[in-house]
């Protein structure tokens, strides 16, 4: 294990191993403090950043932060590394890489070409040397397109998951929330329900309901019931109309075992969904969720800081060509991301790391009530994410998820972003919204139209008319 040295403020510091160097260089984070990995002082933190800046990127190919022999995520990262794509970067230091990322030379094309040459650890490392502004500027340059029944990730577009959760999965209650979302033009990334229980019949019923609704209106979008991957495999076997396979993933084998999964289960699920051939524009069938702190909460972080572990989760995700990757950034609680400042920073880091690694990255800009965060922080984060070119965000009625008990962005927030930043829905979905008269284009802005007759008709059609 290599030792790294640097001094700051007249004091010298040493860091043994890449993991401790990365952790010490990480912005202050309650999860790293919980794991006793964080820098002991601000001066030590900046010393670690000096050391990291001088480190050759190639060091990350020589030293694994989690052992190769015992961890299938490390093996996946190492065995799928594209040396040819890495060649142009092979003599850069981490600091030099940051400068290159911010240069004109780094554009959508060169970033895409490099993606398979970057490892999660390299990207996590460079993110620690970047200010929020840098993360936004580079994320914005990356375009990652994914397709199923529409095209997500195009420049100038912002997708949304319409999240219509209900505390007991009541079909009418869910239908009302979907209606609200559609009237506000949400739902192009996915209409996705977190079921209140993992009961199989219940999930089958929800999937059936979503599919009927989609077909009734010929909506160019996809649906998902976010249940465990093994349940989804069984639902596919039962003949349920499954569009997307959902699963939470993390950055180590043991953390994934904590989720009850491994790479071969994910592969099996992907193949099962592909066999249904339900995509029309494309066949990206996987939907992954991640979040900083997931590995630590399963005590499966191997002494690695939570932001680096999060980037490793993206290596798992990109192996399965996902349609959607969603970092649920403030969901896990204050023991990992303490306040609005940490949540905002983490959201931008995750977007940056995900996009650079070639993922169709979205973000659930959210917080729980025991975090030191509120809706103002979500306003800030969704604005920054949209400027940074996030593929999609999560939207729930009135920002309040009544099943999961946390707060995210609302449908009105989507209108705010469309109005003020000019982002539009996925093109196929936008065409549908226009045909349905649900939105109008005003000065290039897609704004809700709220056509009374159409709304009443939809109330009728989803079986809600009294």
């Amino acid at each position: 294990m290599a030792t790294y040295r640097a001094s700051a403020g007249g004091q010298s510091y040493r860091f043994s191993g890449l993991s401790s160097l990365l952790a010490a260089a990480s912005p202050r984070r309650s999860g790293d403090e919980l794991a006793s990995l964080a820098a002991q002082s601000d001066t030590e933190r900046v010393a670690a950043r000096y050391a990291l800046a001088d480190l050759p990127l190639a060091s990350f190919l020589a030293e694994n932060v989690v052992p190769y022999e015992t961890d299938e995520v490390t093996r996946l990262i190492a065995d799928t590394h594209d040396a040819e794509a890495f060649a142009p970067f092979s003599t850069m230091t981490v600091g030099g890489f940051r400068d290159w990322l911010l240069s004109f030379e780094a554009d959508a094309h060169t970033l895409k070409a490099g993606a398979r040459g970057f490892t999660p650890e390299m990207i996590a490392a460079v993110s620690k040397l970047m200010r929020n502004q840098d993360l936004i500027a580079v994320s914005r340059k990356c375009t990652v397109i994914s397709t199923f029944r529409n095209t997500l990730g195009l420049q100038g577009r912002l997708g949304t998951r319409l999240q219509p959760n209900h505390p007991t999965d009541d079909l009418k209650g869910i239908a009302v929330a979907i209606l609200d979302g559609l009237l506000n033009g949400a739902g192009d990334a996915v209409i996705g329900i977190n079921p209140a229980t993992d009961n199989m019949q219940n999930s089958a019923r929800l999937i059936g309901m979503l599919d009927e609704l989609r077909q009734a209106y010929r909506m160019p979008t996809q649906s998902c019931v976010l249940t465990h991957v093994t349940n989804t495999i069984r639902l596919i076997e039962m003949g349920a109309p499954v569009d997307l396979v959902f699963q939470s993933v993390a950055g180590s084998q043991t953390a994934n075992e904590g989720f009850g999964i491994n790479l071969s289960i994910l592969k099996e699920a992907q193949e099962a969904a592909l066999s249904l051939g339900r995509g029309t524009v494309g066949n990206d069938v996987m939907y992954f969720e991640t979040g900083q702190g997931a590995a630590l909460s399963a005590n499966a972080h191997h002494g690695v800081d939570q932001q680096t572990m999060e980037a490793r989760a993206y290596a798992v995700a990109r192996h399965f060509q996902p349609l959607l990757v969603n970092t649920v950034v403030g969901f896990i609680g204050p023991e990992y991301l303490y306040d609005g400042k940490q949540i905002i920073r983490a959201g931008l880091e995750d977007l940056f790391c995900g996009k650079l690694l070639g993922l169709p990255m979205g973000c659930d800009a959210c917080y729980t009530n025991h975090s030191e965060a509120d809706q103002d922080d979500i306003d800030t984060l969704i604005t920054l994410l949209t400027v940074a070119g996030v593929n999609f965000i999560i939207t729930v009625p009135g920002s309040d998820d009544v099943m999961l008990s946390y707060q995210s962005a609302s449908f009105e927030d989507l209108t705010f972003l469309r109005k003020n930043l000019g982002v539009r829905p996925a093109p196929e979905f936008e065409t549908w919204l226009l045909e349905m008269d649900l939105i109008r284009l005003s000065g290039g802005r897609a704004l809700p139209n709220y056509p009374r007759d159409r709304m009443l008709g939809m109330v009728d059609a989803v079986g809600l008319a009294s």
């Binding site: 993992d198 219940n202 009530n369 704004l447």
Partner: protein, 247 residues
């Protein structure tokens, strides 16, 4: 153009969600912004309410109970140090001798003492009624506790199954939601994938006490049959399609 706010009138009764907020301009009106802030304030306050453990002990009588606490000294530490909330305070070990039992129910405050006070006693009573022939250990009431504290408690008592009833984190619509976690062969180090969860037990459109108790009993019996809890134990309870019901 007509605001969803007008359209949604009666539809609002179908869900506790904040549907149909937008004005005709697609913005959230003042009233709804303030209502949201009020709900947020109530949820924040609920997190800090202490558990009346002695009151719970009285409420679950005649079932015998034991009062224990985690290694967490206060609420602020509880929020930042989940590891301490998962472990028993050393002085409590003496109250949990290895008696051996089929199932132990652990009541934990979690993030909502209010949820525990509202729902634990009736759920527990109904669940125990459905477990005829099972030996049930003393109810262990744990303060400043997280789910995994049940692993240590279950291991101390020598229970085959541990059922943790815990206050879920307060949301804006519900600040008294109870969650249940069932773990076979509880022991320190169990993973989330070893457990089965029942969530959203509350009166605002959540699971009723009777529904929750039935599901606990079904999962326990099924877990005993297959010798496992966690991701391999699928909830295939036929009545499991939950109806929208009051507690």
């Amino acid at each position: 153009m007509s605001a969803p706010a007008n359209l949604f009138g009666n539809l609002r009764t179908l869900t506790p969600s904040r549907v149909g907020v937008a004005t005709a301009d697609g913005t959230a009106p003042t009233r709804s912004v303030l209502d949201f802030q009020q709900a947020y304030a109530l949820a924040r306050d609920a997190i800090h309410e202490p558990l009346d453990a002695a009151g719970i002990a009285r409420a679950v009588a005649p079932l015998p109970s034991r009062l224990v606490r985690s290694q967490t000294p206060d609420r602020g530490t509880y929020l930042r140090r989940p590891d301490l909330g998962r472990r028993l305070h050393a002085e409590c070990l003496i109250d949990l001798p290895a008696i051996g039992c089929d199932v132990v129910f652990v009541v934990a405050d979690g993030l909502s003492a209010r949820a525990v006070e509202q729902h634990v006693a009736p759920v527990l009573k109904l669940a125990v009624e459905r477990l005829e022939g099972w030996s049930v250990g003393p109810v262990v009431i744990a303060s400043q506790a997280r789910v995994a504290i049940g692993d240590e408690i279950g291991a101390c008592l020598g229970a085959e199954f541990c059922v943790v009833l815990i206050g879920e984190r307060p949301g804006l619509s519900v600040s008294d939601s109870l969650g249940v976690y069932i773990t076979r062969k509880p022991a320190i180090g169990r993973m989330d994938s070893d457990r089965n969860c029942i969530s959203n037990i509350h009166a605002n459109g959540g699971l009723s006490h009777a529904q929750a108790a039935a599901k606990i009993a079904w999962l326990l019996k099924q877990a005993r049959k297959i010798g496992q809890t966690g991701v391999t134990l699928k909830d295939e309870m036929v009545e499991g399609v939950i109806e929208h019901g009051a507690v």
